[in-house]
């Protein structure tokens, strides 16, 4: 029996000729990631256990992105603890305010992840890098500490669900609509403990940013990882960013999949997930018109340049509706700069949006856009759990940048197709 793409990467990193679903293995790590919430906890357990060395100072990344620029004294203390740890061990990749960005947009941009690599991160959305054909998965702080100490960690080899994509996306339909649709199909635990392996002729038509968005939310279906094949677009993306050798793995033709989901990309329409689970997915036309108070465009899911271009296209020459607060957050410094160069920043500000510094901020109800009781937000983020963005009686509707921007203009949940048709 052949191996899936994920299984091949895990086998190679465990120095085993073959692994199969259910095997418990110890695999070498190419990169270990943490942020300002999870790294301090990892540092505490690392020190408590008495470790005095890290496995490789060049293969640990600490990104201060969640509560930064620090929202209060307590978060400032956490950042200080992370900085001190980085200084103590000479960690090469510490990204602080001014260089930082949202980790899962930043790491690929900086060339810190390459196809075929094995990455753990103390952040659930670490699965984003599967877009590059890497095995990457979210873990907790103790796993991060173990990874920093040993350069390896334990994994249960996952079974896989094959997601075959056909066709191509229509106008104003994006990677976000694909993943919300998929989670709606299989549920928030539909891929629990498993890999989501994306394949099929539809992959080639997806931009890298769409693939990052799709892989990013694999965790929202419970998946261990989401992964895309390595093709011309991924090679083009890593060229100039990654300067070390890397390996493209392919699933064996006889790889075993537990099930298969087929999605015809051309059949999808803009899709949103209503409160309070990402699996409450609905085509926009069934639910448009819902009252809203706030719009957030950004995050590790949708804060990349093509996301902001999609939002700006709709906001250009239009205004955010009265009574709506629209917060635009480029994911990284590079995306921010690109927004300024392309005039997108001006478009957002002219439209009446606030154009923020890179931060995870409002996605997790941290800062820069928390909501009051009874408020509702259309957000390009990834979770709409109870109290996720603020008060327990506030609500989050997950959507693409195009839907979020259209809703900001309309003042209610709206379809970008309607807004652009109206002219």
């Amino acid at each position: 029996m052949g191996m899936t793409m994920t299984q091949k990467i895990l086998a190679a990193h465990a120095h085993l000729p073959v692994v199969k679903a259910g095997d418990l293995i110890e695999a070498k790590l190419d990169l270990v990631l943490g942020n300002d919430i999870t790294a301090p906890v990892a540092v505490t357990v690392f020190d408590k256990a008495g470790f005095t060395e890290v496995f490789d100072k060049d293969k640990i990344v600490i990104v201060l992105d969640h509560y930064t620029p620090c929202k209060d004294i307590k978060s400032a203390q956490l950042c200080r603890q992370a900085r001190e740890f980085a200084a103590r061990f000479g960690i090469t990749h510490l990204y602080d305010v001014g260089q930082a960005g949202i980790e899962h947009a930043l790491l690929p941009e900086k060339g810190l992840v390459a196809p075929g690599e094995c990455v753990i991160g103390a952040d659930s959305h670490t699965c984003t890098y599967g877009a590059l054909g890497a095995f990457s998965t979210g873990v907790g702080s103790t796993d991060m500490a173990a990874g920093m100490a040993a350069g390896e960690n334990w994994f249960k080899v996952p079974a896989a669900i094959k997601v075959t994509l056909t066709g191509a996306l229509g106008p104003y339909v994006s990677g976000k609509d694909v993943i919300l649709h998929l989670i709606g199909e299989i549920g928030v635990d539909g891929a629990l403990y498993k890999s989501l392996e994306f394949t099929g002729p539809g992959v080639a038509a997806l931009s890298m940013d769409d693939r990052f968005t799709i892989a990013n939310m694999a965790i929202e279906a419970g998946a261990k990882n989401g992964i895309f094949p390595v093709d011309e677009k991924s090679v083009e993306y890593v060229t100039g960013r990654v300067d070390r050798p890397w390996t493209a793995y392919e699933a064996d033709p006889d790889a075993e999949y537990e099930s298969e989901v087929v999605i015809d990309l051309s059949s999808l329409t803009p899709t949103v997930s209503l409160p309070h689970l990402p699996s409450n997915a609905k085509p926009i036309d069934e639910v448009k018109g819902m009252a809203i108070d706030q719009v957030v465009i950004g995050s590790c899911t949708n804060g990349r340049i093509s996301d902001l271009r999609a939002a700006a296209e709709i906001l250009k020459g239009r205004k955010v509706a009265d009574g709506i607060r629209c917060i635009v957050i480029p994911a990284t410094q590079e995306v921010s700069l690109q927004c300024i160069r392309e005039g997108l920043a001006e478009t957002f500000i002219q439209a009446g949006c606030v154009f923020s510094v890179p931060t995870c901020g409002p996605c997790l109800g941290g800062h820069m856009g928390c909501m009051a009781e009874g408020e509702r937000c259309v957000s390009t983020t990834n979770r709409n759990f109870v109290g996720r963005m603020g008060h327990t009686q506030s609500e989050v509707i997950l959507a693409s940048p195009a839907v979020a921007a259209a809703s900001a203009v309309a003042g209610v949940l709206a379809s970008p197709l309607d807004i652009m048709k109206e002219g």
Binding site: V45, S124, T392
Partner: protein
Amino acid sequence: MKAGTVFKYGDNVDTDVIIPARYLNAPSPAELAKHCMEDIDPAYAGKVKPGDVVVGGWNFGCGSSREHAPMAIQASGASCVIAASFARIFYRNAINIGFPILECPEAAQAIQNGDKVRVDFAAGLITDETTGAVFQATAFPEFIGRIIENGGLLPYLKARQKGKE
């Protein structure tokens, strides 16, 4: 061990309700415990006593990777979580910090809020003393058993490192 009182919740109990992000800026176990379950059960932190048992449905602990979630439940005094299934990062985190979790769909369904439940961790046996029902939880693989025996992943790694020296 003594029987504990059950605090029962539904499916998809996510890490944002186990410990809301607004409290992650103070990651001491005692601080986290004060706010554990606050957004679905504000009374939990005030009522839970050492040895009590949290019971959830499917996909317990879904969402964020925050280890603060099992830390908060552990620090609240609960002796373990029994659920029909666990989200994978929560599952790893609980094992890694040495906090017992038991996967048992039958127990998760049958046990009711307020029941008195006793757990034999070594045997994976769950006894509902209120109803007399006994359930067998899924056994841990041997490797994971060794991590738990050592009190968590880092003590396990440390012990292994010493073994090599």
